[in-house]
Amino acid sequence: MRLKLVPSVTSVDFFRFWRVTFGASVVAMVLSIVVFFVMGLNFGIDFRGGTTIRTEAVQPVDIGAYRDAMTPLGLGDVAITEVFDPSFGPDRNVSMIRVQAQDGVESVTPETIDAVRLALTEIDPSLVFASVESVGPKVSGELVQSAVLAVVLALVAVLFYIWLRFEWQFSVGAVAALVHDIVLTVGVFSLFQIRFDLAIIAALLTIVGYSLNDTVVVFDRVRENLIKFKKRPLKEVLNLSINETLSRTMMTSVTTLVALIALFILGGDVIRGFVFAMIWGVLVGTYSSVYVASAVLLFIGAKRDWSKSDSDTGGTQFATDDK
């Protein structure tokens, strides 16, 4: 008995409603941007400076009591959240305390940490600081810069590579898909207020890599089919190519998702946000290689004549989508 995710031969018309799906993508991107500007991102200390303390205790976390204990220390904005994780037993109670960057000091002083420790162990003697991380405002600003720069550089490099290997229309499609994936991911992080730190940037770039992987595989087949079927309309060629690579797309996406979901459930709370970003990225990345990358290609058209050089045909010939 052989497992088959999709039948051997499929002929789904992916572009029947391409205007609708493309429109939906555009709407989703606009919504993401709106959500981002309205709600903002829940930046971790990597990006905004400050200190996070992870506490572990035998007794249940009493956020009110923690807050009362820390108020007299005058540390400014303090956020305390309890961390829930199915793998924690009843005697393992974890909280995250975030303290804003203190005026005039680059990173937190040992005295401050000791004061916090003293105040909190008064409430709960079993409390231990599992980790203390502190980032000064100077560095956090630089981290934002280099993170944004990394994403932009990656996009440019990819654009360039695909332009070399394919045609500029393909680059535009691929990069449109990438921008789509990044924007939607940032939107989701903003909507659910998941903590956004350096590791998430790593995840974001993996999404770029994954989505690209998917797009390039489809495009590779499109290029091959464009040469093979010179007279067929572009829309049909795209459809055929996506159908032909469909079983591969499903296999890869499903196996990757299985691996990621295992990590999401069992990997512990420290990397949950990170894994969530990747799961989401696999989903939108798979979607976008068809409904954004290929749709953009369909929209702007692709050079059809690959056999002769441009000078022979007297210019580049574009296919128009069949109206």
């Binding site: 051997s8 350096l198 790593a202 992987n213 459930i265 990747m278």
Partner: protein, 553 residues
């Protein structure tokens, strides 16, 4: 057709076997680590039966390189420090004043009286009372500037001497500043390394980052605060003649004098001569000790030059007080009882035993040339790291099992081949990580899990292609060959683009991003190798043995 020459087959299997061999130590992480530590100690000459037993935990003929576990997995402390490199300029420029004064006073007839004017740090302003002598004054002061040996600046000198109104301004030249910064950074790195090594921790990472930053990661240390106490102290030790004592910190100390607080007594200040008799640079050794009243103290020894200066001074100043200054605080100011020859002495103060031990470490390692600001510090408890490793392991195993089952169900015999290739792929990743001494972090583990998912991608591309080709091509051999050929461009394009992002991540990123980029990048290389070569070899072997009439894929 499906011919693979014998040497290629050996090469492919050889690489796989090597991968497995070099990955194996990581399965016995604890044993290998104890073995390596013990071997390291034995090599330095301390051999005990316990160490020999530890060393015997892992056979010597096997590879023993391990993956370096990141702080988030092992626990430890991380500090990012910025060295105030410009502090050094100020010291250099201040040190020039006596020579400038002496040079100009030789020319008194032309330039008139010489006066040092208040100025910004790192700048020496001198006024001469006869403006007509300005040109001569500049000329004389310029003789102080030394030509520099640099790669770019031909004829560059270390000092810039300019005229600003009625003042002569002396600053370090641009080239000299760059050279000084570099020297300061190298010195700081060296001293920090010494201090961390003295504390006896395992494999610390001490790296220069950018122009003026140092990254210090020490696994296994209790907290960043401890690390900071160790390396955050400048530990500049100097011995000064005492001018007088006062209780008013605002007293004007007088020219060429400084006012320094006492460490022992709050509200007590010493006025000292600015130029030290001897400084800590001339120490050759420092040890924790006890004084004659059995109080903790630090004994020290000077090098010959320092010892001579110390001996001459003590001989000439019996009966006067003498201040021992550490980082701008007077530790103690004993009265000189007799001529101290031989260049050794003892520092007493209100120390605990721990403090003397630490002070001795700091003095031995030397003074930092400049102060540091800590921009970032992280402490990760060892339990948290252990939890993360466990979680990552379980997740990786489950992910593997799921993928293995899935592949066999989908592709039968070919699925088994893909799974074997996947195992080799993982072994190769671990082997490479161990060999290059890369650091595995939590996001790195996620990268590996993602690789498990994506490693099958290339294989799936090939298998799907073979499946397609077997519908039209004549015979299984042709289908296999065409499958590999046609899948090639998609595999390469897809992996090269992902590899580009991994390289950019590595170049731009720091910390977790980098760790992730390394595993992702290596994962891409190994999965392309296993997909294109290992699976192909196995498929050919299968084909040669079974000679199937039709491919069941």
């Amino acid at each position: 057709m499906l011919q693979i020459p014998m040497w290629k087959r050996f090469l492919i299997w050889g690489l796989c076997v090597l991968g497995v061999a070099f990955a194996t130590p990581n399965l016995f992480y604890d044993r290998v680590e104890r073995h390596n530590d013990a071997v390291g100690l034995i090599e330095t000459g301390t051999a005990t039966p316990e160490l020999e037993a530890e060393a015997a935990l892992w056979p010597d003929f096997l590879p023993n390189a391990l993956i370096n576990l990141g702080l988030d997995l092992r626990g430890g402390a991380h500090l990012l420090a910025e060295v105030r490199v410009s502090d050094v300029y100020a010291d250099r420029i201040d040190g020039l004043w006596p020579s400038v004064r002496d040079l100009l006073s030789d020319e008194r007839s032309v330039v008139g009286n010489v006066r040092r004017m208040p100025s910004d740090a790192g700048e020496l302003r001198v006024q001469v009372s006869n403006p007509d002598g300005m040109a001569r004054a500049l000329e004389v002061v310029r003789t102080l500037a030394q030509p520099m040996q640099t790669l770019t600046g031909v004829g560059a000198r270390d000092l810039d001497v300019t005229q600003d109104g009625e003042d002569i301004v002396v600053t370090l030249s641009e080239a000299e500043r760059t050279a000084t910064d570099d020297r300061t950074m190298r010195q700081s790195l060296e001293i920090i390394r010494n201090r961390v090594d003295q504390a006896g921790t395992r494999e610390p990472t001490i790296q220069r980052q950018g122009e003026d930053r140092i990254l210090i990661q020490v696994p296994g240390i209790g907290s960043a605060a401890e690390l900071k106490a160790l390396i955050g102290t400048t530990a500049r030790l100097t011995f000064h003649p005492v001018v007088s004592q006062t209780s008013d910190p605002d007293t004007a100390p007088g020219p060429r004098n400084i006012i320094v607080p006492s460490m022992e007594q709050a509200g007590l200040y010493y006025i000292l001569e600015q130029t030290p008799v001897v400084s800590g640079d001339q120490l050759v050794d420092a040890q924790p000790a006890f004084d004659q009243n059995n109080r903790p103290a630090v004994s020290f020894r000077f090098n010959p030059a320092g010892g001579r200066a110390f001996g001459l001074y003590t001989a000439a100043n019996i009966g006067s007080p003498f201040a021992i200054v550490l980082d701008n605080e007077v530790i103690s100011a004993p009265t000189i009882q007799s001529h101290i020859s031989g260049g050794s002495g003892i520092i007493t103060g209100r120390f605990s035993v721990e403090e003397t031990t630490q002070l001795a470490v700091l003095l031995r390692a030397g003074a930092l040339p400049a102060e540091m600001d800590f921009l970032e510090e992280r402490t990760i408890g060892p339990e948290l790291g252990q939890d993360s490793i466990e979680a990552g392991k379980i997740a990786a195993i489950i992910a593997m099992l799921a993928v293995v089952v899935f592949m066999v169900l989908s592709y039968g015999v070919f699925g088994i081949i893909a799974n074997i290739a996947l195992m080799f792929n993982l072994a190769l990743i671990f082997a490479l990580l161990s060999l290059i001494g890369a650091t595995l972090t939590l996001p790195g583990i996620a990268g590996i899990v993602l690789t498990i998912g994506m490693a099958v991608d290339a294989t799936v591309l090939i298998f799907e292609r073979i499946k397609e080709e077997s519908l039209t091509a004549k015979g299984p051999a042709r289908a296999i060959q065409l499958g590999y050929e046609k899948a090639m461009s998609a595999i390469l394009d897809a992996n090269i683009t992902t590899f580009i992002t991994a390289v950019i991540l590595f170049a731009m990123g720091s910390g977790p991003v980098r760790g992730f980029a390394v595993t992702l990048g290596l994962g891409i290389i190994t999965s392309v190798f296993t997909a294109l070569f290992v699976t192909r070899l196995m498929v050919v072997l299968y084909y040669e043995r079974a000679r199937p009439k039709t491919l069941v894929i």
